[in-house]
């Protein structure tokens, strides 16, 4: 069931696959290909090409998939890590009942998203994007080792710069922060029919038929005044700096 029979590889290649598999299995952290090359060099006096190591991992994953194995190799934070396969997740969850993965609250997740996409970024920027004081959320995320102070900005007052950590990459299954899916552009957002319609599931809102709202509803007289219509701008490139500059 293998994609290609093992015999199509040279003995030397097969041996490298075996070594790569064993080392990734045994490592306590995501194992960088460079480290594997070093180990091989230490034993053989000659290091394999990094490309050959990448190939070995690819080949191993092909074999795991074809052979319906319970493990696989992921690439996280620049290194290789052996994990169980998605298909058997329910069994692993039943097995590891004690270790419940704590999920992040929505405000932490939003703050983390802002830091991850705008990094390095400052607290005023994060405050501005979310419209709330981010101090608590930032401290909380730092306590979870998901973000850290990565330096100080050259701007006036030299505010602290925040960025994501390796721990973040591993927790979210990313190789590098560049692997985050692109943010949707404003245009895409506006073209999405769902935007103007119900998007309650995104907002996680529970809307219930009313009991009395505290206000008496809209003030109809106001609408007429707001005449200036038409989109003032659609510049999707309006970057973080510009936005925050305004806020400051």
């Amino acid at each position: 069931m293998d994609v290609r029979p093992t015999s199509e590889y040279t003995e030397s290649e097969r041996r490298l696959h075996q070594i790569v598999e064993a080392l990734i299995f045994a490592a306590a952290d995501p194992l960088p290909p460079k480290r594997i090359a070093e180990v091989v060099h230490e034993v053989r006096g000659q290091a394999p090409e990094l490309g050959a190591i990448e190939d070995a991992v690819k080949r191993l994953n092909e074999r795991y998939a074809a052979g319906q194995h319970g493990v696989q190799i992921e690439r996280w934070a620049g290194g290789f890590r052996m994990t169980t396969a998605h298909a058997v997740a329910p069994y692993l969850k039943a097995f590891r009942t004690q270790r419940h993965q704590r999920s992040l609250s929505r405000s932490l997740m939003e703050t983390l998203a802002v830091v991850a996409y705008r990094q390095p970024t400052t607290k005023p920027e994060v405050d501005y994007v979310r419209g709330v004081d981010a101090g608590y959320a930032l401290r909380k995320l730092m306590g979870l080792d998901l973000i850290d102070v990565v330096g100080r900005s050259d701007a006036i007052g030299r505010p602290l710069l925040y960025g994501t950590t390796e721990e973040f990459l591993v927790a979210f299954g990313l190789d590098t922060a560049d692997d985050l899916p692109d943010l949707r552009s404003i245009e895409e957002l506006l073209d999405d029919p769902a935007f103007d319609e119900e998007r309650a599931e995104l907002m996680l809102l529970r809307e219930l038929p009313v009991q009395q709202r505290p206000s008496d509803g809209p003030d109809p007289s106001a609408n007429g005044v707001a005449a200036a219509d038409g989109p003032p701008q659609t510049d999707e490139d309006a970057g973080p700096d510009e936005a925050t500059g305004k806020a400051a």
Partner: protein, 245 residues
């Protein structure tokens, strides 16, 4: 217009609440009826104040922005750009709202990713370390600036600082007898332990006392020393311990 009861603590902030109004009433984001929305917004802020919800300050701040926009829109002569095009006072708010939506989406995406990632299980750390008996320079797991700074907190908030260093740098005397007792006690609880691990971060005097105690106890046959590959580290064990286990 339908009315809804909104659970206030479901909102992550004022932008979230504004978005809710816009979506609920299917408003054109580029033509927000600012007066209506300000009015609604304020009634929620009042409610928040009443029930004393956290973070009400952020909402009040947004309310002031809304009122400011509303006032500007009532002015006969709106501000204009260099080429004379009038600037919609709502523009910045709209930009912020749209930007915020992007990050909300990103957060939802991250959450999915997080859930999916945690369907993958790795070997427990303990196991991985067992398999390796690692050596060499350690990789620091808690080397974050935040932790470095947090450690300053305890230093800078402790009362001991102001004291005379001549008194705080007291030399404590460690006796070999005490060390021997400590080792005995330890081996009653565990079959063996790593000498280095046990005394990591301990004062030099205490380490020396323990080392002398170990030598003495080995001679008496009260303990044995197990030597793993690294010669600088050794395990102290009960005499009956299986050396290979």
């Amino acid at each position: 217009m339908a009315t809804y009861r909104v659970e206030l603590d479901q909102f992550e902030g004022p932008l979230d609440l504004l978005l809710f109004f816009i979506r609920r009433d299917e408003l054109d984001i580029y033509d927000i009826p600012i007066s209506q929305i300000t009015h609604e917004f304020l009634s929620y802020v009042r409610l928040m104040e009443e029930i004393d919800l956290d973070g009400v300050g952020d909402f009040i701040y947004m309310a002031s922005i809304l009122i400011g926009i509303k006032a500007q829109m009532l002015l006969p002569q709106p501000e204009s750009t260099d080429d004379g095009t009038p600037i919609d006072p709502r523009r910045e708010l709209v930009e912020r709202l749209l930007e915020y939506v992007r990050y909300k989406e990103a957060a939802a995406e991250l959450e999915t990713r997080h859930d999916r990632r945690h369907e993958l299980f790795t070997r427990p750390e303990k196991t991985a370390h067992d398999a390796l008996q690692t050596d060499g320079a350690p990789r620091l797991t808690n080397a974050t600036v935040f932790r470095l700074i947090s450690s300053l907190r305890s230093l800078l908030t402790s009362e001991a600082i102001a004291e005379d260093p001549a008194h705080t740098v007291d030399r404590v005397h460690y006796s070999v007898d005490e060390a021997r007792e400590a080792i005995r006690l330890r081996l009653r609880q565990t079959e063996r332990f790593s000498f280095v691990e046990a005394l990591r971060d301990e004062p030099r005097g205490k380490i020396i006392a323990h080392f002398l105690a170990v030598l003495e106890m080995v001679r008496q046959g009260a303990i044995v020393i197990l030597e793993p590959p690294s010669r600088t580290k050794f395990f102290v064990a009960r005499p009956d311990t299986d050396h290979l286990s």
